[in-house]
Amino acid sequence: MKADFLELDKDEYPGFIETLRDKNEELNAFNFIQNSYGEGKIISVKDNICVKDMPATASSKILEGYKPGFDATVVRRLKENGFRVIGKTNMDEFGFGSFGLNSEKQAKNPFDEKYVSGGSSSGSAISTAIIKDHVSIAESTGGSISTPAAFCGVVGFTPTYGLVSRYGLIDYANSLDKIGFMGRNAAAIKEVFNFSLGKDAKDTTSLERELIDNNSRKLYVINGLMKGVNPLVVDRFNRLLDRLISLGYTVEYKDLEYLDYSVPTYYIISMAEASTNLAKYQGFKYGFRLKDFSLDYNDFFKSARKEFGKEAKRRVILGTFIRSQSVRSKYYDKALGIRHLIIRQMKKLLSDGLIISPTMPIFTPKIEEVNDINPVEAYSMDMLTIPPNLCGFPHVSFPYFYEKGMPMGAQLIADHFNDYSLFSVLSEWEQNFKYKFAGELG
């Protein structure tokens, strides 16, 4: 399939932007929309990725007004290849959230505003769902691409850790953050992904590797993971498996004991790292400026840091605790050890197949249903997206069913650097299943 990208001429552009702004009033997909016209294939960029001459806030009040003045490496590469950024997309503050609600402006599902869009890359999923032939540059730490892609009915691809440079990405958890892509089909995402690849001298952890398509037709389902999934979701998922079997895939059920620990392991590592990354927000060099310089610096910092949202505060406090000398080995060191075990275990399976699961253990929830759930419940919803994210495996969420008009997503996981395997399966799926999108702006 050929990759198409929306391109507009000078006369079409203002009208498009006006409709987009109207739509944005309802859904809160964008934090910033570029009014002035420029040629190029249209993309949007998550608001934690720096674009020269645009604000970058990561949806945090503490970053309000920050103008980075430089392009993230991925943005620079895409600009050099004829793409043009039309705006910065809404997200959970700093990436802290699974529903798109931890933002000043709560994101809404483009199929039905009463429902969540998913997060943290909420705006990237929504914009992809409503704009014709759209691709959005997003980012995932623990499931921030798969989750909103599933809820908004688009394809969300998270590459192997390190393949896309993180230079210009506002850090959540550096050993977990991965820049990835939302799109309407495998071909478009693959093309943008290919332009984004390559060694970057500015990011120590960026890798240049030959990518593999292992052409496997073997799919693994992990018993332990399916345990916590809503039985009705399991039922819809089994129908997907049947269709895949009819296309010539084999399905095998497996046990992976350590996967049960992946959620706490992930949150321990991510909070430890996040609490150090958020230490730089002090209210005077960029973003929110307190201006009251005559305050003693400690009081100044404490006052400025009130601008963090509740989830950010929660993670800073917990992360600081996890790093305390008295418990560091019990939590942080231990979690790094478990991550090693999980990677080893999953790699064994992925050497000759792909892992498949629903993307989320639940149907798309209404906003009111999850607005007040407690953090442990919320974190547990990430049980299916966390394993590949914790371990840096490439994975993709794609639409496979519509439940009362709302899309559902399934997730495929491949071994490190086997990113192209995902596109092969997905292309075949797309020849047999027609996605329904929420809009066709443009």
Binding site: F301, I317, I338
Partner: protein
């Protein structure tokens, strides 16, 4: 978690909470730590740790100045006085 311990964390991380926030976040913190304690039952025998999910080969920079002026106006984001950045009192 004792209130003192919780307050020590707030002071260390330079976070101030009002009373309502403080109570609710302290409770969350306890719940979440209980959830984290699950990993206590795993024995990691190898002693190996995954600092990154994949091996990151070393990447070093030659000691030469390059790429000056990546940003055109370094003072754009802060308050300044005679080319110094202004900061809080020390």
């Amino acid at each position: 978690m004792e209130k003192d311990e919780f307050n020590r964390l707030l002071a260390t991380s330079r976070i101030v909470l009002n009373e309502i926030e403080s109570d609710s976040i302290q409770k969350d913190t306890e719940d979440i730590l209980k959830f984290f304690d699950k990993i206590g039952s795993v024995t990691v025998e190898t002693g190996e740790k995954a600092f990154h999910p994949v091996d990151i080969p070393e990447k070093l920079r030659e000691d030469s100045a390059a790429d000056r002026r990546e940003i055109e106006n370094v003072f754009e984001n802060g308050d300044t006085y005679r080319f110094y950045f202004l900061g809080p009192k020390v």
